[in-house]
């Protein structure tokens, strides 16, 4: 079996999630960096073959080229069920997915790198305001969800798909100078996750293409 290949960018939130999932499943993979800001890098022939839309993450595994971080994570959880990313109980499964989707569909797209850049070019500082605004809006709702459903982790006491999606959005929240003191539950869970070595392995600063490696 050839080693899976992950096309990734160190600071991509979506790629970060897949890196966490692969680490949790203990899947060894080859990291292929794609510089999102370099047309030359994105036009790499091997990469384009696997993903004509030229997006990261793209995971080449078991003969398949998979895209969209949540679809990849669900695939990994079905193909490699141990440890599980979704609780057995139907209600907890739904809450885990709801929290993950809230992050992925309601917060992430509105503060992505390209959005921030586009709006700051439109009017200097507007991108910063915009991203801060939408992360705060999303976190207000997320804090409420976590108050209802969290135990040690986002949903109960087991790591789920919700936890996999959390660290990347908090990393960005800090960049956009979001006041995290308003979100004690989000902060507490993220601090627990940050101590887990598999989450450390997946951290942007620990990737081969991270800048200024010491």
């Amino acid at each position: 079996m050839a080693k899976p290949i992950l096309y990734s960018y160190w600071r991509s939130s979506c790629a970060w999630r897949v890196r966490i999932a692969l680490a949790l499943k203990n899947i060894d993979y080859e990291y292929r960096p794609i510089d999102l800001f370099s047309e030359e890098s994105k036009n790499n022939a091997e990469f384009v073959k696997h993903n004509p839309a030229k997006k990261v993450p793209t995971l080449v595994i078991n003969g398949l080229s998979l895209t969209e971080s949540l679809a990849i994570i669900e695939y990994l959880d079905e193909a490699y069920p141990d440890p599980p990313f979704l609780p057995k109980e139907l209600d907890k499964r739904s809450y885990s997915r709801a929290i993950a989707l809230h992050i992925v569909a309601s917060i992430q797209p509105l503060q992505a790198i390209n959005i921030h850049k586009m709006l700051n070019e439109k009017e200097p500082g507007y991108g910063d305001f915009w991203c801060n605004h939408f992360v705060n809006k999303g976190f207000l709702a997320l804090e409420e969800l976590l108050k209802k459903h969290s135990g040690k982790y986002c949903v109960g006491d087991q790591l789920t798909i919700a936890d996999i999606n959390l660290p990347s959005i908090i990393y960005n929240a800090k960049i956009y100078k979001v006041d995290m003191s308003k979100y004690p539950t989000i902060t507490r869970i993220n601090e627990i996750l940050a101590e887990d070595f598999r989450f450390k392995l997946a951290h942007p600063d620990n990737q081969p293409d991270a800048p200024n490696k010491n």
């Binding site: 969209e68 971080s69 949540l70 990849i72 669900e74 695939y75 709801a98 993950a100 809230h102 569909a105």
Partner: protein, 213 residues
């Protein structure tokens, strides 16, 4: 079975229409509870109340479920016939990838609050923005469908991907006047879905709270 499920929905909400379609495909009878998004958004603006409250919300089997895609996955697990995801792992991943592409990369960037906020910033900029991100999203979507579609988005079976498609095409055409000629596959599948009764009953214009002409 207890009381009939309750769906809190707004006629014009793309995310609500996905759940309405899934309920119709599963032949689940439910009570429609209209939520006026415009008034609710005004209320939020004035009072900052209930930030987590948005549509759709489905009350079913004693649970209160949020997030359209999570609701649909729940419905598909507990009412498996007809399936909304293919059995084959590859096709299943494709269906989810297309659904999540629409739900994450297109839908959030063109919803009403975003549009209004940007048009308020600079008249016309909201229109440009929504057209830009729909077109960008559709370009990638067309490529995905070129690789994976048959009669429907993935192969010849209706899936979660098809459930996500109509509302974004509706917005593209009716609200933002996007030129659909570069997207023949999106157009073909969307037209095919529009002929199916389950998609017709879920259509915005057919909801109890849709404005009447």
């Amino acid at each position: 079975m207890a009381a009939k499920p309750i769906l809190y929905s707004s006629w014009s909400s793309g995310c609500s229409s996905r759940v309405r379609t899934a309920l119709a495909l599963k032949k689940i009878d439910y009570e429609y509870q209209p939520v006026n998004l415009l008034n609710k958004q005004k209320e939020q603006e004035f009072h900052g109340n209930n930030p987590a409250e948005k549509v759709p919300i489905l009350k079913i089997n004693g649970l209160t479920l949020t997030e359209s895609m999570a609701i649909i996955e729940y419905l598909d697990e507990i009412y498996p016939d007809p399936p909304l995801l293919p059995k084959e792992p590859e096709l299943k991943a494709r269906a989810r990838a297309i659904a999540f592409h629409i739900a994450s990369n297109i839908q959030p960037l063109q919803n009403k609050p975003i549009y209004l906020m940007l048009n308020e910033k600079e008249p016309g900029y909201g229109d440009f923005w929504c057209q830009h991100f729909i077109s960008k999203g559709f370009k990638a979507l067309e490529e995905l469908l070129q690789m994976h579609s048959g009669d429907f988005c993935v192969g010849n079976q209706i899936s979660i991907a098809d459930i996500c498609l109509p509302s974004i095409v509706y917005n593209a055409i009716e609200k933002y006047h996007v030129d659909m000629t570069p997207y023949p596959i999106i157009t073909r599948i969307s037209n095919k879905l529009a002929e199916l009764p389950e998609f017709q009953v879920a259509h915005p214009n057919n909801q109890p709270d849709a404005p009447k002409n």
